[in-house]
Symmetry: C2
Subunit: 242 residues, 2 copies
């Protein structure tokens, strides 16, 4: 049965973590909000799930996945659901839990990256909170990026199956998500991001390895991969990098 991904159609955002998993697995999926309204797709199809009074499990926000009778929101919960179905997580409960814990930590880093340009209010423009953004971005660059990537470096270093993957000896959705986090950091903070990768070479190597995965590479080169932009989570405002 085809997976239906619902997410804002013009940005990578949090939807990208789900897209990467679906693409890396070669799954049959529809990116609903990017489809034509005339065929019942588009943003209005997405909003019907969010605003429809009869939806028993209404998503709080995009992304969410519709698969048969299942409607699931929250990026990490979507990947928890998809992981076993796409072969992107190990079989044992302990390894699945560990993979999920890694994903949740990536989600925390992503939320903090967002707040570098929106420290005060998501309802205001970046231009309305620039001085505050400069202060928050400094903390993010100097303390948080090193803490997050340093932790993932130690996870890779301690993996009993080697440092090619975060969990075990095979690709998992956490690897794909760490790739995307690094991509985003390199886009938004090219100076600080590059510096952090120099300090954490295993994270950099995993990023490069994921980029070369045949299906991921094909996806990244396709029109299905949206470009980073200043409407998304990772935004390049040069004044926030150093």
């Amino acid at each position: 049965m085809r997976y239906e991904l619902h997410y804002w159609p013009t940005i990578q955002g949090r939807g990208e973590f789900v897209r990467l998993a679906l693409e890396a697995a070669g799954a049959d999926y529809l990116d609903v909000a990017r489809g034509p309204e005339a065929e019942g797709q588009g943003v209005s199809a997405m909003l019907r799930w969010m605003d429809g009074p009869d939806v028993v499990h209404p998503p709080f926000a995009p992304p969410f996945l519709v698969h048969g009778q299942v409607v699931v929101g929250q990026t990490a919960a979507i990947l928890l659901y998809l992981g076993p179905r796409l072969g992107l997580v190990a079989k044992s409960e302990t390894q699945r839990l560990w993979t999920h814990q890694l994903q949740l930590t990536i989600a925390d880093a992503v939320a903090e990256a967002h707040d570098t340009h929106h420290p005060i209010a998501g309802s205001l423009y970046y231009e309305d909170q620039k001085p505050e953004a400069a202060r928050r971005a400094q903390e993010f660059r100097e303390l948080r990026i090193p803490k997050y990537l340093g932790w993932f470096e130690s996870v890779l270093q301690r993996n009993p199956k080697g440092s090619a993957h975060l969990v075990g000896a095979r690709l998992s959705y956490a690897d794909l998500s760490l790739f995307q986090l690094v991509e985003g950091l390199l886009y938004a903070f090219p100076l600080a991001g590059r510096r952090a990768l120099t300090q954490n070479p295993r994270v950099g190597a995993l990023h490069d390895c994921v980029a070369e995965h045949p299906r991921v590479a094909a996806y990244l080169a396709s029109p299905r991969r949206l470009a980073f932009c200043e409407e998304g989570i990772f935004r390049r405002y040069p004044e926030l990098d150093a």
Copy 2:
């Protein structure tokens, strides 16, 4: 086998969501960092798991749970692990996923509540970011609390088994966590929190119902329940409420 919870010993914080689940289930657990150093407990026991170079699954931050060979961090992942073991989640995969999705949304609300007093930097004091905190708290009071509690109200309203619980007809860890979120909001934002409960009566009723659960009530009246304070996530700074 006894559960070992590791969390900062003087605050409710994120550890409280785990404590509530353990207490509501009457589980045998040790709150390690609150125990005596002389018996191998205390904060130093917690830090050994975080800083020990031989820990294969190092927690990024407290809280984390140690249970036999399992070490699991991230509040939502801990509850994902504990839920079935403590009888605090339904049996079906769909209901478990939905319960987890609710928990992740509560976690997002908790992170935003924290950032009302620390919008700029976790490494600075509140006193170093008071004007920014005032702006962020205004957005949180006026837009975010209503959005979050309004969503939970609609979830309760749509529950096919009735609005006494978030999922199905029995207590789940999501109910306990929503209770704790409401407790925290009422502590930190008594005016805005009370107003939001008036708008969302099912959320208020669930909060009151959880507080009357015999084991929860016994816990809340015991010395094991720490008081809210201005070192935790939910802080009462009257200038941030209105």
